[in-house]
Each structure stands twice: as structure tokens, then as C-alpha cells.
Symmetry: C2
Subunit: 211 residues, 2 copies
């Protein structure tokens, strides 16, 4: 087997560029040039740009969601914080395993997750429901069982808020540094986990609004 796999090389370059520029703004020409492979290789290995996008996302999402399931299953009589951690930590921890992007901002895995959450081409809609639907239901059910002061409507909304906080942090950590005038960075993944968990637990713990 070759030491550098063309398919993997393409996925790496695509991940970096999608994170930096978004899916629509990244062309296959730019991508294959960065990966130092031939332009036609993308269509040969993935069929189309759309399928490449899915492959890039799937490579990261699958192990993270598997870990989320594993951790949720391992909890018996969990606290609110246990559940929030089971959801957030697998995603935030995975970031440590990837290097920074070429533009010197936060790393590729981090920012592509932000992209995933917001830039939703229509061809990815079914993909998202497939990848996150069942898992989201399980987390919302667990949260609702634990935080007895909120109902299903509250639990879903707060889950949504939490995903937004996570995604924005992953995607736009550099903006925080820039706008705060350097007063606040978000580079230490371990500290970021604790900050986000504290915030989300506080949010989930607030008195329900719907009921």
C-alpha cells in the first residue's frame, strides 16, 4: 500500500480549504492544486464535488458521533453536566488531533464543523438528518429526563442553542481574538471545553420558559 493515498490527500486538502473558505467558494482546481493531485482525480475517486463534501464531513462526524453514543450509553443516572459533556467533549477533543490551517487561524477540523452547521447546501439536508437525527433525539430525551424543570420544547431549543455556541466557537475563534483586541483567545482546547460546558450547563439549568 502507498504511503500517501490520493484519496486521503484529497480529503485533507478539501477539509482545510472548506474550513477556510466554505464549500461553495472552494473550487476543485484550487483543491487539487493544493493536494498536488490531478484535477480529474476528484471526479474519479468521489464522483462529484457534492460527494466529496459529504466524504469530508463523514470522515470526521462518524467517529465523533460514535463516541457520543458510547459515552451516553455508559452513563447511568447522569447529571446534566454528564450529558452535556458526553455531547460536547467528543467534538472539541477531536480538534486537538488536527493541525492549524494555512491561514494561521484555528485548525481545519474545528472550522469545518462550524461550516457544517451553518452552510447547508440543499443536497446536505437529508445527510444531516441521517447523521444527527437519532443521536439528537437520544440526547434531548436524556436531557429532559434530568432537567425536570424544562419540557421537550425547551430541551430541543436549548440543544439547538448549545450546538450554535459550539459551532460558532469552533468556526470563529479568530474573530473573538480580533474583536476583543487580543483580550481573549480561544486556543486552549481543554480550557474551551470547560468554558463551553459551564455555559451550556448554566443554560440548560435555567428555569423553563415553555411550560
Amino acid at each position: 500500500m502507498p504511503t500517501t493515498d490520493t484519496k486521503e490527500t484529497i480529503l485533507d486538502a478539501a477539509e482545510t480549504l472548506f474550513a477556510e473558505q466554505g464549500f461553495a467558494a472552494t473550487s476543485l482546481r484550487q483543491l487539487t492544486q493544493r493536494a498536488e493531485v490531478n484535477l480529474a482525480a476528484v471526479n474519479y475517486h468521489f464522483g462529484s464535488k457534492d460527494e466529496l463534501v459529504k466524504a469530508v464531513l463523514l470522515r470526521r462526524i462518524e467517529p465523533i458521533n460514535a463516541e457520543r453514543r458510547r459515552r451516553l450509553d455508559a452513563l447511568s443516572s447522569p447529571s446534566l453536566e454528564d450529558i452535556v459533556r458526553a455531547f460536547l467533549e467528543p467534538a472539541l477533543r477531536a480538534i486537538d488531533q488536527c493541525g492549524p490551517t494555512s491561514d494561521g487561524r484555528s485548525n481545519g477540523l474545528a472550522r469545518i464543523f462550524g461550516r457544517v452547521t451553518v452552510e447547508q447546501p440543499s443536497f446536505l439536508r437529508a445527510f444531516f438528518t441521517e447523521q444527527f437525527g437519532e443521536l439528537a433525539h437520544r440526547f434531548v430525551t436524556a436531557l429532559q429526563a434530568t432537567a425536570t424543570n424544562i419540557d421537550a420544547q425547551d430541551a430541543w431549543l436549548r440543544m439547538h442553542f448549545t450546538v450554535g455556541a459550539m459551532a460558532h466557537t469552533l468556526q470563529s475563534a479568530h474573530m473573538l481574538t480580533e474583536i476583543s483586541g487580543g483580550a481573549c483567545g480561544a486556543n486552549d482546547a481543554e480550557a474551551l471545553v470547560e468554558q463551553l460546558v459551564a455555559y451550556a450547563v448554566g443554560g440548560f439549568d435555567a428555569k423553563g420558559v415553555s411550560q
Copy 2:
């Protein structure tokens, strides 16, 4: 003066399409066709596509940020919730004044704010700092003075989390409906304000992590 201003017509169409598809994925051809104006009109009135993007954003951001400033100034010895409301309500209220997009999802103003927060073409970076920098500093200072259990680092991060929760809610409310299997929509703007405020206040109120 004409009853339908070309410039305004272009801004309206651009706002809708940018919200639905993102900036990069929306072409001037599609945009001018939707607006029923000539292709050349965009370059005549705005100079370039990049400048059009800025104009679309500025039209909405300016009054909202002005209202945020006004409300923050009006507060004396504010509570945490007062400050959070002063930040969130102007944005969420403005949504009620715009109609839905053509794809039947949440409305254009709502979703373009989500776009703004995540899809950050490099030419918009200075624009963001200019539009939000001073205001963000003022809010963070106010928050830190009120929530005495958090330091500057905590305050900045939690402000960032809150922006993410807000943006994701505005941008992807339809995803919530889809993934929850209809168990939760996010259509009532007034209820959404209360939900988001409750969550954010809970988040800000959590014990600080940095210190």
C-alpha cells in the same frame, strides 16, 4: 421619486438569496433576474458584488446596533438579564419585520444574520471589526461589571457563545424542526426571545472557569 427604487429592489433580492444560499453560492445573474433588473445594474449601483454584500449587511446591522447602544445607555445599575436583553432583543425583534423567504423556511433577515456570523469572506473581516468591535467591548464590560463571578476571559467567551446560539437559531431554525421530527419549531419570535434570553442568562450566570 419612483415608487420602486432599483437599488432597494436589488438589496431586497440579494438579502433573500444570500440568506438562502450564502454569499459565494449566489450569482449576480440569479440575483438580478429575481429582482427583475438588468444584470449591469448591480455594478452600476454598487460597484461590485463584494460591495453589494456589504450594503446588504449594513442596511440591517446599523439600525440594530444603534438600538443596542441606545438600550445599553438607558440602563442604570442593570441586571444580567437587562444587558442580555439589550443585546439580543434588537436583533430578534427586527426579524418580525421581514417576510419569509421563497423556500418556505425562516425569513431572510433572520438567516442572513446567521450567514454573517459564519460565512466570513476575507474582504468582510475589517467590516466586522468596524461594525461590532466597539459595541462588543461595551457589552463585555457591562457584563463583567454585573456578573462578578466571571473575569474578562469568561465574559468574552460567553458573549461569543451567546452570539453563536443566536446566529445558529436565526440561520437554522428549519433544521431544528426537521431533526426534531416536528416536535419543536422556532417560529414565534417572541417566545424565541424568551427562550434565548433564559438560556444565555443561565450561561452567563454559571460560575467562572478562568479565575
